[in-house]
Symmetry: C2
Subunit: 213 residues, 2 copies
């Protein structure tokens, strides 16, 4: 493949929308999640995020990045108000509706109603799950960090419950998220299914990596 070299200045010089598309593509494939929240007046909210990231397994901590802008602040406002939220994997049946939640709906419009996704209330969780999502988990807000360098906010929560297809729970503890039809996002607007190349053995310095399963 013929390579192109771009300097930092080349990136600075890009037109705003192109730069956003370029830099958002740079970090590789991203998780595709819908975050469900509710406010104290029981108004629900649903928004797509591609920054949901594993922070630790014991305790089970998950973070996401909230931009300091209007669209995504409904999610953060609700989380700070009620302390609970749900994270729902996006699958190939619902990715268009999921993408549509990124439109700038006013606070009094629930993205559930606007997109036709179904709010689902499970166990005692006050925040809505997405019924159409196959893997979903309930979160309790722990802490947030403002990243002063660009005013984005890292929101950290603890996993307090998980709903997962029984057939996707593997013997080693992992979840077969491909089997659950979870998809992945590239850049700002590109949605992809996956095909497993291999599952690899735990890497040791004195043994070659082998395929397992």
């Amino acid at each position: 493949m013929n390579s192109k070299f771009l300097s930092g200045q080349d990136i600075v010089n890009m037109e705003t929308q192109k730069r956003a598309a370029f830099v958002n593509s740079l970090t590789g494939f991203k998780s595709a999640s819908l975050i469900g929240t509710i406010d104290n007046n029981e108004k629900t909210n649903l928004s797509i995020f591609s920054s949901v990231t594993h922070l630790g397994s014991n305790p089970a901590l998950v973070g996401f990045i909230s931009r300091p802008n209007l669209t995504e602040r409904h999610t953060l406002d609700n989380i700070l108000e009620t302390k609970y939220y749900t994270i729902n994997h996006i699958n190939k049946q619902i990715f268009k509706k999921a993408h549509q939640t990124s439109a700038r709906y006013p606070k009094n419009i629930s993205e559930f109603e606007a997109t036709g996704l179904t709010p689902e209330f499970i166990s005692g969780m006050i925040a809505p799950y997405v019924k159409e999502s196959h893997i979903k988990y309930g979160m309790e807000f722990m802490e947030s960090h403002e990243l002063k360098i660009n005013n984005t906010i890292l929101v950290i929560g603890k996993v307090i419950e998980v709903i997962v297809p029984e057939s996707c729970l593997m013997k080693d503890g992992s979840i077969n998220i491909e089997e659950a039809e979870t998809i992945t996002i590239a850049g700002l607007d590109s949605y992809h299914t996956t095909k497993r190349l291999a599952k690899l053995s735990y890497a040791k310095t004195d043994k070659p990596t082998i395929e397992i399963d």
Copy 2:
């Protein structure tokens, strides 16, 4: 799909390795990157990370999570020492070698030599790139945040240069990372290629989402 409900206590009760596999699967598909560094004695280091995340486009900021443990600290130590590092996409030709960098090699062994990946020095960047990687970018360290809740460290850097296949640069500014053969990771050890479902139009409240391209 038949669903299984797991409580927070069910997760706490899991055996350590199974819990790690479970919680690492929970956040969906992840970016697959090799981070290249060098120390002041010109010893190179290469390590796989699945937590590389877009933090902002202007300035172009990218973060990753460094666990407070032995294996991954070589990367962070080198970054703090020299301030520069490279992030290299993992493709299907090199994913086994990339996985092998997660073995706990001692500091005096370079994962480049141990795995057979080729260090490449481009422009003035002091940290090594991975020659076999198709999309790669040079980073300048900006700041780190210790997340007190579990002592992991969020490392933030600025993108200072990018090398990308010319044929993968799209008119809208995005990079076709699937065309560049970038892969994605599920959980701790599962590697996946992708297939694009669709690229969707910018979501508006008064228009339906449509496929573009």
